[in-house]
Symmetry: C2
Subunit: 372 residues, 2 copies
């Protein structure tokens, strides 16, 4: 259930509240990625203490390890990973297709050659046959098998199976993919509605970098019984192109339901997205940065391994209230990274995620006050 609390008088930015069986998600909000059913290096009590309201887990990874049947036997993903707060899972499609095209970043940099590593064996109307990177097993992922897997996982919000066309695709093939992906989403929705399982399903808006197709996608999906709208597929090669595309399409995204921008979480994109009315964003960016020693602060990023931090006996961010900043100094964090101690990753991950939680709370406050 989505409740719109306030729309800014200055922009499309809005404050809302999503209610799920496992609690509330205040929007706009950041969604941390715990691919394998854990946030890297943190136990669930620590994640809860940070105040993260929604966590994103990847069906593709959980299908291959430990297998969704194991998670179901555990009583579902919440119980398996000891999380009492909301979870969202994707369809597995993104990973299968991005493996086929050699990953999003390298595909963007390429001139469009497929870098199929052999993992995707066949794409048909039925779905995708691929080879597990773990044991070489052949796996058929279809709208129905993806939704069945997501039913076994039991996240609060699930995503229909879709095709991820690469950025480098000719318009004819894009249209073919576009039509098929909407047929797959409809099949996914049907599979979901046959067994709602107290889960919500967000549609995925497609259309690549064609504004007309994006508009059409919104219209097609708005007519189906989805509970929210995720924005997927390539939105362009640069942040600027992405912002232009979002600017063009957001007026067509239904306003009475929550929306989500898939896989985007850098601070500049978040800022732009919030002003365009995006409700939630998932990204592994803050946690990956933490592991690489890049810490977010109100005064800009800190590269913790820089020698200048060796003797700085002050918190990473003196204005931050996270447990890392309350208890440890830059000098100690610098030492942990230099000594290659995993404790550094733990403390930096806590800090960066707390930064995101606080940042989003600040955005909500600013919107409520019509300041953005």
């Amino acid at each position: 259930m989505f409740e719109l609390i306030h729309s800014s008088k200055k922009s499309r930015a809005r404050v809302g509240r999503i209610t799920t069986p496992h609690g509330i998600i205040d929007t706009p909000n950041f969604v941390a990625v715990g691919t394998n059913g854990t946030l890297k290096a943190l136990d669930s009590a620590t994640v809860d203490a940070i105040g993260l309201q929604l966590m994103f887990c990847n069906t593709y990874h959980l299908m291959l390890q430990p297998g969704t049947a194991v998670v179901k036997a555990a009583g579902g993903l919440h119980k398996f990973m000891n999380r009492t707060k909301p979870l969202i899972t994707d369809s597995g499609g993104f990973q299968v297709f991005s493996l086929a095209y050699g990953g999003v970043a390298s595909e963007l940099k390429s001139s469009g050659q497929k870098k199929n590593d052999g993992s995707v064996l066949k794409i048909t109307e039925d779905g995708v046959l691929f080879r597990s990177y773990r044991d070489g097993e052949k796996i058929l992922l279809t709208p129905e098998t993806s939704i069945a897997a997501q039913k076994e996982l039991g996240a609060d919000i699930i995503i229909p199976f879709d095709e991820l066309p690469p950025y480098h695709i000719d318009p004819y093939k894009l249209k073919q993919s576009f039509d098929r992906t909407h047929r797959w989403e409809k099949r996914s929705l049907d599979a979901h509605l046959a067994n709602p399982n107290n889960q919500a399903m967000y549609a995925v808006i497609h259309g690549g970098i064609d504004p007309d197709l994006r508009k059409q996608s919104c219209q097609i999906l708005a007519n189906l019984a989805f509970d929210g709208f995720a924005i997927g597929g390539s939105l362009g090669k640069t942040r600027q192109q992405m912002i232009e595309m979002l600017t063009a399409m957001m007026p067509y995204v239904p306003q009475d339901k929550p929306n989500h921008l898939l896989g985007i979480g850098d601070l500049e994109s978040l800022d732009a997205g919030i002003r365009l009315g995006i409700d939630t964003f998932d990204s592994s960016h803050p946690t990956r940065c933490a592991r690489h020693g890049l810490l977010f602060t109100s005064r800009g990023n800190v590269k913790i391994e820089q020698g200048s931090n060796k003797n700085r006996f002050e918190p990473v961010d003196p204005s931050c209230t996270c447990s890392t900043c309350k208890n440890y100094t830059l000098a100690y964090m610098h030492h942990l990274y230099k000594a290659k101690e995993v404790t550094g990753h733990v403390l930096a991950t806590i800090h960066n995620l707390h930064f995101m939680v606080q940042l989003m709370a600040d955005y909500r406050q600013q919107i409520l006050e019509d300041r953005i």
Copy 2:
């Protein structure tokens, strides 16, 4: 300050209490090793919650990274690493000499050839000149520089600089080393007493595998103003030899002060050592086992990666009260290790350390009841 609370009527086992400026250590007790000023993968709040009373940090590592001057500038090691409870540091000698002989385990397995990797450049009456493994810098470690470093770190308990002769050493060289190590310990004590800094210093009993030398060492050191007695050097090639040596020497270790067995922490040795009157034991064994997926339980060790754990939706040890066993299952832990998630190391380290804390509390209770 050491207070003897109870001596068992059945063995040399005893219960005591060591009071330090940062709190109490109940004995017998296990001392976890946080080489670089952190327990691997755990923050200090987690360590405190486990109930670990004493942590062991390595002067050698902290001298090289971040340097003891940095730690001093931070306000000492407690403040640097945000630990409010007792700490003990060693002299750095163990690491320098074990590098010279290629590590304790490999030296034991060898037939006595020195495996000097070039890091130890010169051993003289003054001390040891060695090369830093980090940057190749030449460093002179002497009784005086080791104690100065340990003064900068500021642990509650410190250790004199000693020479670690290898297991394979001829009696003449052992005696030479023996005499020098006791001269070094005396110089260390003098350096310590010139600036007590509210720290206690434990002597290190030497003598290798010669019972007469071990007895002499106890007698020499008992006549000096040490606050406690650590047992160092090679005690034999097997656990049985170690137990025989401890059996022979413990009657000569002063009873009115605490004693410590350096670097021994496997469960069988602990059990034997406690019966012989050892008060504390340090070892990285439980934390290293945790990282390798070997979990200690009241029913024996669990190899978490074994396939049989895939579907076991019960705690690692149903009788354990640690946060890992209260919140997670064998199946989830198995999954984390299979997925190579560091969170698995975090949860397993918590469990194994909690096991050690509980085990030592149980030993104390058994001794108080004269059951061992």
